[in-house]
């Protein structure tokens, strides 16, 4: 029986006296995809930020491999990939430069993965154009190309993906490609926490957390 890698216990968060959630506990098994659902303003983005360690819950704790994520955070940060509403892509830098910096934050070097990932994301020929000149959908795909980069490298790959509305501004073929990427990641034992209004066709175990 595999052990849960990610565990949240009794999370509570309120914003300006507005209670978003309390007593929220769950655990995520390797190979599992977790949908986080709820109406607008129910705290989905906040929950993902808490899971990424960007913000701290008012009460409760998130554990990675049974250790609180804010202690010995490096192991967790190495194993986790967070993609928020803003994808962290800078307009004045090209796709290649952006991805190179994002990889370097994890201590990874580009030895051709960026080229491959961009090609697989339908962005061949756009590698060296400043991202400010790309369309919203293309920009979003640059951000999501990070998933492919890490997928190719098993040892250093992030095991946990935290994705906030990754399908925004993405066309049909992009949606299908991302679905396939997520499926493949989960089949290899990776985990995905995702907020989306899109129903995905997945062949892996899923879990739903409903907020609000």
């Amino acid at each position: 029986m595999p052990q849960a890698l990610l565990r949240a216990e009794n999370l509570r968060f309120e914003y300006d006296d507005l209670l978003l959630f309390e007593q929220l506990s769950f655990s995520v098994m390797p190979g599992e995809v977790v949908y986080i659902e709820g109406p607008n303003g129910s705290g989905k983005t906040t929950l993902l930020k808490i899971l990424s360690g960007l913000i701290d819950p008012i009460e409760g704790q998130v554990y990675w491999q049974d250790k609180p994520i804010n202690r010995g955070a490096r192991t967790y940060q190495q194993a986790m990939l967070y993609q928020g509403h803003q994808s962290g892509i800078k307009d004045s830098l090209s796709a290649r430069e952006n991805l190179k910096w994002l990889m370097s934050l994890k201590g990874l070097r580009d030895v051709g993965q960026i080229e491959e990932a961009l090609a697989a994301s339908n962005l061949a020929g756009f590698e060296d154009i400043p991202c400010g000149h790309l369309s919203a959908g293309q920009k979003r795909r640059v951000g999501l190309a990070r998933l492919l980069i890490n997928d190719d490298n098993h040892q250093t790959a992030e095991k946990l993906w935290i994705l906030d509305e990754p399908f925004t501004a993405i066309d049909k073929s992009g949606v299908a490609a991302l679905e396939a990427t997520i499926n493949k990641h989960a089949q290899r034992g990776g985990m995905v926490m995702i907020t989306t209004h899109q129903e995905m066709q997945l062949t892996v175990p899923t879990q739903r957390i409903v907020l609000g």
Binding site: R74, K100, R109
Partner: protein, 224 residues
């Protein structure tokens, strides 16, 4: 082990500065204009100018820095790359230090290079130039480092610019006092090693302490 992320960070910041030359040029032009206001607004008399040259250049540099400090983290905050930076497994304080120093190099170093020219326009006595350059070289990085804490605290706020000046300007008073004091001592042919030593000590402390405070401030700001 983390050299690669540090190196990439420097490269990235330089690249961004090169793609937005206005970020570098605007404070520089502002600096030039503020200095010009003094002879126009008070008196072009050479003896008088010689007396105020050091302080005027220092204050103008300080104000020009306030303009550029505001944007230190703002773009990164808006496009989400700040969030990516904050969850890096690499040492955050070191990367922030690198970022602040690169920012200093691209926006403040040109100001320092321009300072002797303005010194000449303001009739700064010949003995004062060495002190002017040395105090600016030691003092302005402290301003960048302390200012980074303020920039981090105000990064998420809509009208952060004025607020940033309000919260950090009082903290810059010692640097201004020792900086201009050293220049004055130099023009009077007196020793100014004491002032330089004070500035160096402050710089050393700022290098060690402020990146940690800035990291904490960024974490507070991303929470709001």
């Amino acid at each position: 082990m983390y050299w690669y992320s540090i190196k990439t960070m420097i490269g990235r910041e330089l690249l961004i500065a090169a793609r937005y030359p206005a970020e570098v040029l605007n404070p520089l032009v502002f600096f030039l204009m503020v200095v010009t206001l003094f002879p126009l607004g008070i008196s072009p008399e050479p003896e008088f100018l010689a007396k105020i040259a050091g302080p005027v250049i220092w204050i103008a540099a300080l104000l020009a820095m306030m303009l550029s400090l505001d944007s230190l983290f703002k773009n990164d905050f808006d496009d989400g790359s700040l969030a990516q930076l904050l969850i890096t497994p690499s040492p955050l304080a070191v990367l922030i230090l690198v970022k602040v120093l690169t920012h200093w190099f691209t926006t403040v170093f040109p100001i320092i290079l321009l300072a002797p020219l303005l010194g000449a326009m303001l009739q700064l006595p010949a003995e004062g130039y060495r002190a002017l350059l040395l105090t600016l070289l030691l003092g302005t990085p402290i301003i960048s480092l302390i200012g980074a804490i303020g920039a981090a605290l105000t990064v998420g706020l809509h009208r952060g610019g004025v607020l940033l000046s309000l919260i950090v300007l009082p903290l810059f008073i010692p640097i201004l006092v020792f900086g201009t004091g050293a220049i004055e001592a130099a023009t009077l042919a007196m020793q100014y090693n004491g002032q330089l030593a004070m500035l160096s000590a402050m710089l050393l402390i700022a290098l060690l302490v402020t990146p940690i405070a800035t990291a904490a401030a960024l974490k507070i700001s991303i929470n709001n």
